[in-house]
C-alpha cells in the first residue's frame, strides 16, 4: 500500500526541489522532492510549515467559550470546528441528546457549511485543473480563465457558495464566525421568514448542484484511464455512518474499511475514538500522522473526506444523491474507488446531497420550535466528532471541576489525510515526474494531487496564512539553479 519514497537513503547526494507555498489550497504548505542526477525521484514529502499551538492557547479558558473560540482555527470551515466543539461541550455538561429543534438547526448549519465549502473548492480551486486539464498553460489555468471560458459555471459556483453562507448566517447569526451552537443546544431557531428566504432559492440550487455532478462525471468518464490512475493510492477509509449504514455528516458511528472494502471496525462509538486511532509524530513534519491502532502505524493510515465517505456509506437518504452514488459505486467495480481525482466526483455528490437535505430540513416544522437547550451535570471529558467538509474531525477536551479547560486534543480532517496525501504525491512523483526535467505543468501535477484532498493546512497546523508560491531548484550541492515565483494573483516571474 505504501511507496518507498518517504525517506531517501542518501539525501545529501540529491538535488532538492521545493514547491512552496502550495497554491489553491487553504493555508500554507510545501512539497520537497529529492532527485538524483538523472532526475529520478528519491524522496517526496508534503510538509506543513506553520504551527500555532491552539490546544495550548485554550487551556485555562471556560468550556462554554470553546465553540466560538476554536472556530477561529479556520476561516474556511469554522462551522465544523464550532459544531465539533459544541458536540464536545454537550458531553461536558452531560447532555447526550439535544432537543429536536437544536439538533435540526445544527444539522442545517452544518449542511450549509459543507455545501459552501465544497462549492468553493470545486468551482474556485479545482475547476481550472479539471476543465482545462492539468497541463494547460498556467496563465490560463485559474479561476479567471474559468470565468472567461465558462462564465455560467463560475457563476453557479459563486451562487452555490453564497447560498451555503446564507444557511450559515440564518442559523448562526453571521456568514463567518457566528455563535449559533451552545453547550446543550443552540441560541436561536429558524423563523418562517428566514426559512422562506432560503426556500426561495432552493430549486435553482438543486439544479446547479445536479449540473455540478454531471460536469465532474463527464470530465472523469471522458478520460477514465488517466483520472482513475492519477495519484491513486489504495487506502483504508474512515468516516462516520448513520445507524443504518447510510451517509452521515453530523453524528454517527465510526466506520473503517480496508482498500478492498472489508470492515476494520463499524458503528464504533465516537467517544472511544482514542482507543481506535493513535497519532504518530515524524521528525520532518509538524503535522501528526494518525493511524488505526488495530493495523499499526505502518499499515494503519487512512483516508477521510468525500471519497472515503461516499465509498463507506451504503446509501444516501436523499434520492438524487443516492442515484449518483450508485453510478459512482459502479465505477469502482465492486471495490472502493481509490483515485484521488474521484474525490471531486464524491465531493459533488455530497454537495447535491447537502442541497437536497437542506430542502427537506427547511420543510421541517421543528426548525421553528422554541425548546432550544438542555442542561445536565458537569463532566470532566467531552468528545465531539463530526464529518467536516474535508473529513472526520475530532475534538476532545478535558475540564477541571470549575469548568476550565485543562487539556485539548484536536485531530482535524487534513491531519487524518496526512499520509494519504503524502502517498498520493509519491505516486505522482513516481509515475509522472520520475526521469523528466521538471516543468511547471509537471510540478502542478503534484499540486493537483494534493488539491484533490482539499487540504486545509491552516486547520492542520492550527495556523492561518496564505502566501504566493516560490519554487526553487537546487542542485546536489544545494546551489540554486532555478527559481520560479508565482504571485497570489497567479502571475509568474522568473
Amino acid at each position: 500500500m505504501t511507496t518507498n519514497l518517504e525517506t531517501a537513503r542518501h539525501p545529501e547526494t540529491l538535488k532538492r526541489v521545493c514547491i512552496e507555498p502550495l497554491t489553491r489550497v487553504e493555508g500554507h504548505g510545501k512539497v520537497t522532492l529529492l532527485l538524483d542526477e538523472d532526475n529520478h525521484v528519491k524522496q517526496a514529502r508534503l510538509h506543513i510549515v506553520e504551527f500555532r499551538g491552539f490546544e495550548k492557547f485554550i487551556q485555562g479558558r471556560p468550556y462554554w467559550e470553546l465553540p466560538v473560540l476554536v472556530q477561529r482555527l479556520c476561516g474556511i470551515c469554522p462551522v465544523s470546528h464550532h459544531l465539533a466543539a459544541a458536540k464536545a461541550c454537550d458531553r461536558l455538561i452531560g447532555v447526550d441528546r439535544l432537543t429536536p429543534t437544536a439538533e435540526k438547526v445544527r444539522r442545517l448549519m452544518h449542511l450549509g457549511q459543507v455545501l459552501q465549502s465544497h462549492a468553493l473548492h470545486f468551482f474556485h480551486l479545482s475547476s481550472p485543473d479539471l476543465l482545462f486539464g492539468i497541463d494547460d498553460a498556467v496563465a490560463h489555468r485559474n479561476i479567471v480563465g474559468v470565468i472567461r471560458d465558462h462564465p455560467e459555471i463560475a457563476m453557479q459556483g459563486v451562487l452555490l457558495r453564497k447560498f451555503g453562507q446564507e444557511v450559515i448566517r440564518v442559523t448562526s447569526g453571521k456568514r463567518v464566525h457566528g455563535t449559533g451552537a451552545l453547550p446543550g443546544g443552540v441560541n436561536k431557531n429558524v423563523s418562517l421568514e428566514e426559512r422562506d428566504l432560503l426556500l426561495a432559492d432552493i430549486d435553482r440550487i438543486l439544479d446547479w448542484a445536479e449540473k455540478g455532478v454531471q460536469l465532474i462525471k463527464r470530465i472523469i468518464l471522458t478520460r477514465p484511464d488517466f483520472h482513475y490512475r492519477f495519484a491513486a493510492v489504495d487506502a483504508n477509509t474512515l468516516s462516520l455512518v448513520a445507524p443504518d449504514g447510510g451517509f452521515e455528516l453530523y453524528d454517527g458511528g465510526l466506520r473503517a474499511r480496508d482498500p478492498q472494502g472489508e470492515t476494520i471496525f463499524d458503528h464504533a462509538d465516537d467517544q472511544g475514538y482514542a482507543e481506535l486511532i493513535h497519532e504518530e509524530i515524524k521528525p520532518w513534519s509538524y503535522m501528526k500522522f494518525p493511524f488505526i491502532v488495530a493495523l499499526g502505524p505502518e499499515q494503519g493510515w487512512y483516508r477521510v473526506g468525500p471519497l472515503a465517505r461516499v465509498n463507506n456509506c451504503e446509501h444516501f437518504h436523499t434520492s438524487l444523491a443516492e442515484q449518483e452514488r450508485q453510478d459512482f459505486a459502479a465505477a469502482g467495480e465492486g471495490r472502493p474507488l481509490q483515485a484521488a481525482l474521484a474525490t471531486h466526483w464524491a465531493r459533488m455528490i455530497e454537495l447535491l446531497h447537502c442541497a437536497e437535505a437542506i430542502r427537506d430540513l427547511l420543510l421541517d416544522p421543528d426548525l421553528q420550535g422554541t425548546d432550544l437547550r438542555r442542561d445536565g451535570r458537569l463532566q470532566t471529558t467531552g468528545i465531539g466528532v463530526l464529518e467536516a467538509p474535508r473529513g472526520t474531525l475530532f475534538h476532545h477536551y478535558e475540564i477541571d471541576p470549575d469548568g476550565l479547560v485543562t487539556r485539548a486534543n484536536l485531530i482535524v480532517s487534513t491531519t487524518n489525510n496526512n499520509q494519504a496525501m503524502n502517498e498520493s504525491i509519491r505516486r505522482v512523483a513516481a509515475d509522472d515526474l520520475d526521469g523528466h526535467t521538471l516543468t511547471e505543468p509537471l510540478l502542478n501535477r503534484i499540486e493537483v494531487a494534493i488539491r484533490a484532498y482539499d487540504p486545509c493546512l491552516s486547520c492542520a497546523t492550527h495556523a492561518l496564512g496564505k502566501m504566493p508560491l516560490e519554487l526553487e531548484l537546487l542542485d546536489a550541492d544545494g546551489q540554486r539553479v532555478g527559481r520560479l515565483v508565482r504571485h497570489a494573483d497567479g502571475s509568474i516571474a522568473l
Binding site: 485555562g60 477561529r72 453571521k174 470549575d402
Partner: protein
C-alpha cells in the same frame, strides 16, 4: 428658572452641585463613560468622559456644571484623545472581542465603536492572567478587567461586603479578592450581589451562559451605546 450650560451647542439644565455627566445623562445626552455609574460616587479614573471647556480638558463625571459654561464633547480632538485612551485599555488587557462572550453587549467595545476606534494601534502587552472560576455561579476573567472599580464600589457601598479591591500601583495595579485563598469561591460574594451586575466589560459574568443571545439581538447590535445606554441598566432588568 433653572440654570443651564451648553454641551456641543445644546442647552443642558442642571442643579447646583450636579456634574456635567449627570446633567447630560438626565437631559438624555450621551457622554461616553466607563467607570461612571450614577448610582455610585464618581471615580474619574477611566478618562473616557473627557470634555473640553474653553481649552481645558476635564472628566465630565467629576467636573461640576456651572452656569453658562460651553462644553465640547464631540470635537475630533476630544474623540481622538478618547480613542487613544481606549486603545491603551485594549492593549493593556486581553480583549479578544471576536471570541468573547460579552461581545455585542460590552460597554468597552461599544464605547470604542462610538468613538470610531478601529484598531488597538499600540503594541499588545499580552499579560498572563488566569481566569478565576472557583465560584459556583460567577466567573472572573481578569483579562478583561479595566480597573474601573465599579465592582469595588458596588460591593462596598451597596452590598456592604468589600469583596473587591485594587492592589498594586501603576502598571502593577490589579483587582484582588478578599478571601483566604484570594479566590472568588472562598469569598462572601454571591451571584445576587450588586457587584455581580455592574462590570462594564466581560470581566464578571455568570457561568455557562455565554452566547445565549443570538447575534443581531445583543444589546448593541442594532443601535449604538449613545442610544441604548449602559450595560448595567439592562443587566438590572434581567436580575
Amino acid at each position: 428658572m433653572s440654570k443651564t450650560f451648553k454641551l456641543d451647542g445644546r442647552e443642558i439644565p442642571f442643579e447646583t452641585g450636579q456634574t456635567i455627566m449627570d446633567a447630560a445623562l438626565a437631559a438624555g445626552v450621551y457622554i461616553p463613560h466607563l467607570c461612571h455609574n450614577p448610582e455610585f460616587a464618581p471615580h474619574g479614573s477611566c478618562r473616557v468622559c473627557l470634555v473640553d471647556i474653553g481649552g481645558r480638558q476635564v472628566s465630565a463625571c467629576t467636573a461640576a456644571a456651572s452656569e453658562g459654561m460651553e462644553v465640547d464633547s464631540c470635537s475630533e480632538s476630544i474623540q481622538e484623545t478618547r480613542r487613544a485612551i481606549l486603545q491603551m485599555l485594549f492593549v493593556e488587557g486581553n480583549h479578544v472581542c471576536p471570541a468573547c462572550e460579552k461581545s455585542g453587549a460590552c460597554q468597552l467595545q461599544a464605547v470604542a465603536y462610538y468613538t470610531g476606534m478601529l484598531a488597538p494601534h499600540f503594541t499588545h502587552f499580552f499579560p498572563r492572567r488566569p481566569v478565576d472560576a472557583s465560584h459556583s455561579d460567577v466567573i472572573i476573567d481578569f483579562n478583561r478587567c479595566i480597573l474601573c472599580e465599579l465592582c469595588v464600589r458596588a460591593s462596598r457601598d451597596h452590598d456592604g461586603k468589600r469583596v473587591f479591591a485594587i492592589s498594586g500601583r501603576g502598571l502593577d495595579s490589579h483587582l484582588v479578592i478578599d478571601s483566604p485563598s484570594g479566590l472568588l469561591g472562598d469569598s462572601s460574594f454571591a451571584a445576587g450581589d450588586k457587584a455581580a451586575h455592574v462590570c462594564p466589560t466581560g470581566a464578571i459574568l455568570p457561568k455557562g451562559r455565554g452566547y445565549e443571545t443570538p447575534i443581531g439581538e445583543r444589546l448593541y447590535d442594532r443601535e449604538p451605546i449613545s442610544i441604548v445606554g449602559d450595560v448595567r441598566a439592562h443587566e438590572e432588568e434581567v436580575v
